[in-house]
Symmetry: none
Subunit: 442 residues, 2 copies
C-alpha cells in the first residue's frame, strides 16, 4: 500500500492548497480530502498534499518541487480578485511566462456579472489574466476562471478554492483531461451506499465480510466518507471492460446492501430529505412539521429539495412552551405535568401540526439542545414523533455533542423516523432507544 503513495509517475497527483487562512487556522480545509477521494476513485494516486500561504515565491517553490515528478498538479485557491490572490502570478513565475489578459476569460467575467444585473467591479478583470503559455478553464459556478498549464511535463490545473466551484471544475474539466493524458487502460465504475445515523466503525463492522472480499481483489476498492449523521460507503471497480466492472460493482453493492438492511437509505448521494419526499410523492401525500429544539431545521431540510412544494404543507416552530399549547393544541395538563420534553408531547405536537396545516403526515421534535440542561432533562434528551391518519411512531434519544450536533442529529432522526414509517421499515437493529450515533471515524 505504501509504495502506492510514495512514488511519482504519470498517474500520481500532487495537491497544492493556497491560502493564508488555511495556515492561520481560520478555516479547516475540505478540498484536500475531497480531491483525494475523487481522484483515487478514478484510479489516480494523490501522493503529496501541501498548504502554502498567499505568496508568489512560496507557491512557485511548492510547484517546482513536484512538477516533473507527478503527472499532474491540482492547485486550489488564490484565484480571486483581491490583492492577496496570487496563484496566477505564481504560475507565471513557475513556468517563466508573463501574465497576459485572456479575452475569453474577460468576456466570461463580464457576462457573469451582467447576468446578475451588476456592473463588473473595478479590479475584477485581474481574474482574466493567465500565463502566456497557459489556457483558461471556465468556471460555470463563479466569477473566477481557472488556469491550465504544462510545466516540466506535468499538467498543472489551478481552480478556485470555493468548494462548489472546485468540485464542478475538477469533475467537468480537470479529471477528464488527466485521465485522457494518463491513458488509463481500464474503465472504473463506482457507486456509493448512503447510510444515515450509524457511525463509520459500526458500518465497517457490518461490512467486515464485504471488506475482506474487496481486500483480496486488486480490481476493487471500498472507501468510507463520514459526514455528520451520514456515512457514504463508496465501492469502485476497475476491470477490462465496462460491463465486467459494472457486474462486479453491482455484486459488491448488493452484498453490502444486504448486510446493512434498512439502514441503507439509498445510493449515490441521496439524502434523507430526498428519500422522504420521494416516498411521499409516490403516495401522493403531504407532510407538515412541528419543531421545538430543531427550530425549523426539519422543515428547512425538506424544503431545500427542489420540488418539495408538492409534498410540504408547512410547519410550526413552537419554540416557546405556550405556543405548543396555543397553536398546536398540546394538552396544557400534559405540559404542566411533564414539561415540554416528553414523548407524549412530541406525539401531540405531530398530531397538532397535521391538523393545523391539513397534512397527511407530520413529524415533530422536542428536547434539550443544550448546552445547559433544562430542569431534570440533560442536554441531548430528545423525542421525535411521526403521526399519520392511522399510525404513529416515537423515538427517544440521548444525543451527545454540542448544541449544533444535537440539533443536526435530531433533524436526521426526525426524517429517518418518517422514512421508516413511510417505507414500513423496522427501527434500527441493535439501536437501543437512546442510541447516539455520532459522526466520526471509529
Amino acid at each position: 500500500m505504501t509504495d502506492l503513495l510514495s512514488r511519482g509517475g504519470p498517474d500520481a497527483v500532487a495537491v497544492l492548497l493556497v491560502g493564508d487562512e488555511l495556515l492561520l487556522g481560520s478555516v479547516a480545509d475540505t478540498n484536500g480530502a475531497w480531491l483525494a477521494q475523487v481522484l483515487r476513485a478514478e484510479g489516480l494516486r494523490v501522493v503529496d498534499l501541501a498548504i502554502v500561504p498567499d505568496d508568489v515565491a512560496r507557491i512557485a517553490q511548492a510547484l517546482r518541487r513536484v512538477v516533473g515528478w507527478v503527472g499532474s498538479v491540482v492547485v486550489s485557491g488564490g484565484l480571486g480578485p483581491t490583492s492577496d490572490d496570487l496563484t496566477r502570478q505564481a504560475l507565471a513565475a513557475a513556468c517563466g511566462c508573463d501574465l497576459v489578459t485572456d479575452d475569453a476569460a474577460a468576456a466570461a467575467i463580464r457576462s457573469w456579472f451582467a447576468g446578475r444585473g451588476r456592473p463588473t467591479p473595478a479590479g475584477v478583470l485581474r481574474m482574466a489574466q493567465r500565463p502566456a503559455c497557459a489556457t483558461v478553464l471556465l468556471n460555470p459556478h463563479g466569477s473566477a476562471p481557472g488556469v491550465a498549464v504544462e510545466i516540466d511535463g506535468s499538467l498543472v490545473y489551478a481552480v478556485p478554492g470555493v468548494p462548489a466551484e472546485l468540485r464542478s471544475m475538477v469533475s467537468a474539466a480537470v479529471l477528464p483531461a488527466v485521465l485522457t493524458r494518463v491513458g488509463l487502460p481500464t474503465p472504473t465504475v463506482s457507486t456509493s451506499l448512503e447510510v444515515a445515523l450509524l457511525g463509520e466503525s459500526a458500518v465497517a463492522a457490518r461490512l467486515a465480510d464485504v471488506e475482506a472480499e474487496v481486500a483480496g481483489d486488486p480490481s476493487s476498492d471500498v472507501a468510507y466518507l463520514a459526514r455528520p449523521a451520514h456515512v457514504s460507503v463508496r465501492f469502485s471497480v476497475r476491470h477490462d471492460t465496462a460491463e465486467a466492472a459494472r457486474q462486479r460493482l453491482e455484486q459488491l453493492a448488493t452484498r453490502a446492501e444486504a448486510a446493512l438492511g434498512a439502514d441503507v437509505m439509498g445510493r449515490d448521494g441521496v439524502t434523507l430529505a430526498e428519500v422522504v419526499l420521494a416516498a411521499l410523492q409516490e403516495r401522493g401525500q403531504t407532510v407538515a412539521t412541528a419543531e421545538s429544539l430543531t427550530g425549523g431545521g426539519v422543515a428547512a431540510a425538506l424544503t431545500a429539495v427542489p420540488g418539495s412544494s408538492l409534498a410540504v404543507r408547512g410547519g410550526l416552530v413552537a419554540y416557546a412552551t405556550d405556543v405548543k399549547a396555543s397553536r398546536l393544541g398540546v394538552d396544557p395538563d400534559l405540559l404542566a405535568r411533564h414539561g415540554p420534553v416528553h414523548p407524549q408531547v412530541a406525539q401531540a405536537m405531530a398530531e397538532g401540526a397535521r391538523r393545523l396545516l391539513a397534512a397527511d403526515w407530520a413529524v415533530a421534535t422536542t428536547g434539550v439542545a443544550g448546552p445547559d440542561p433544562v430542569g431534570e432533562h440533560p442536554a441531548g434528551e430528545v423525542y421525535v414523533a411521526v403521526r399519520g391518519a392511522a399510525t404513529g411512531r416515537v423515538r427517544a434519544l440521548r444525543l451527545p455533542g454540542p448544541r449544533r450536533w444535537v440539533q443536526r442529529l435530531s433533524v436526521a432522526h426526525g426524517l429517518d423516523l418518517l422514512r421508516r414509517v413511510l417505507r414500513d421499515l423496522p427501527e434500527p437493529t441493535g439501536a437501543a432507544v437512546g442510541e447516539s450515533p455520532l459522526p466520526g471515524r471509529g
Copy 2:
C-alpha cells in the same frame, strides 16, 4: 503583507502530517487547523503544512526541506506499533542516527497496558524506539510516546496523530518548549470585522485606503475569508509590545469600520443571528418568523444560537399558499391578485406571525427559490419583510445562483433587515434593490 507567512525564522513552525489515510481521502485531517490556531494564538507562525504518506524516504525528505529554515517542526502520526508506522525511522534517517530503545519509554508502555489490566502485546515495544540523539515525550493519554530531536537548529517534535493525544502533548510539552526556545519576542494581536452580504471584491474596494496603509507597514497584515453571504476581514499586527500592537490594531480596525459603515455587523466571528438576538435581548423583546421560500431556515439560524429561547417565540413555515391565508391571515384577495411572491405578501406574513405567536417583531420571507420560475416570477425573486408594533421595512431582491444559495442568501437578508431595523441603520449603500452578493473566494 503575506510576508508574515512566507518567511522562516525562529518563530516559524512547519507542520508535517504523516499518514496514507490522509492522502487516500479516507479521513479528513483536523490536526492541521487545530495546530495552526493554537500556535498562532501563542504568537507563532505556521508557515508550511504538508501531508506525506507512511514512507521513510518521503517523511525524511519533507523534514529536510524545512529544518534550518523554521524554528520548529511538529510531525503528527506514524508513531503507532504497526509496520506502516514509520515516523521514528524517518526521524533517524533525517538526523543520521541509529534507532535505540528508550528504557523510560518501554517502562511507560508496559505500565500503560498494565494499568488497563492487559499484557503488553507483542511488537508494541517498537514504540519505545527513538533516534540515539533524540529524547522521548511521554504520552499521558495513549500508549505511543512522542519523540523530540534537534535537526539543523530546528526543534522537531513527533506526536501521535490521534487528536486527543496530539492536543494534550502539544499543549503540555511542545508549546512550552518552543516558546521558551523562541524567547517570545514580539506579540501578535488580531481582530476580524464581520461583514454580511457583500462580496469579497466589494469589501476590498471599500477598504482600498486601509489596504494601501497595511501594504506599506511590515508589522501589519490583512486577510479576507469569504464564506457564503459573509466576509471576514482579519487584521493582525506584530509589534515590540503587546500594548503598541493593540493600539495599531485598533487604529486599523477603526478605520476599516468607518469605511464599511453599517455593513459591518460586528467583530471576531459574530454571526447575523447572534447580532440580531443580542439587539433583541438589549431591548427585552421577542421575535417570530413567517417563512415561505426559506422553509424554516431563518428560524433555524436563530435557534442555532445558545440562549435563543429568551427571544425566539417560534415561527410558521407557510410553504403552501393557502397556509399563508388560513394561518397567517394574509388577505386572500391580495394573494389572488398578485400571488404569493409580492412585497405586500411578505409584510402581511410578518404581521400575521407577530400576532399568531405574540411576538414584538417578526421577519418574513417569500419568493421563488428555483430552480424553475413560478408563473412570471423568475427564480431568485425574493421579498423579505420585518414588522414591529409601530414600524416595518421590506427589501426586494433578485438573488443569483442555485436553489441552495437563493435560500441561504434569503435567510441572511431576512436577518440583516431585522438587524438594521433593530439598530436603526440604513439599508445597504449602493446596494440597489436586487443586489446579489455572492460568496466567492477565487
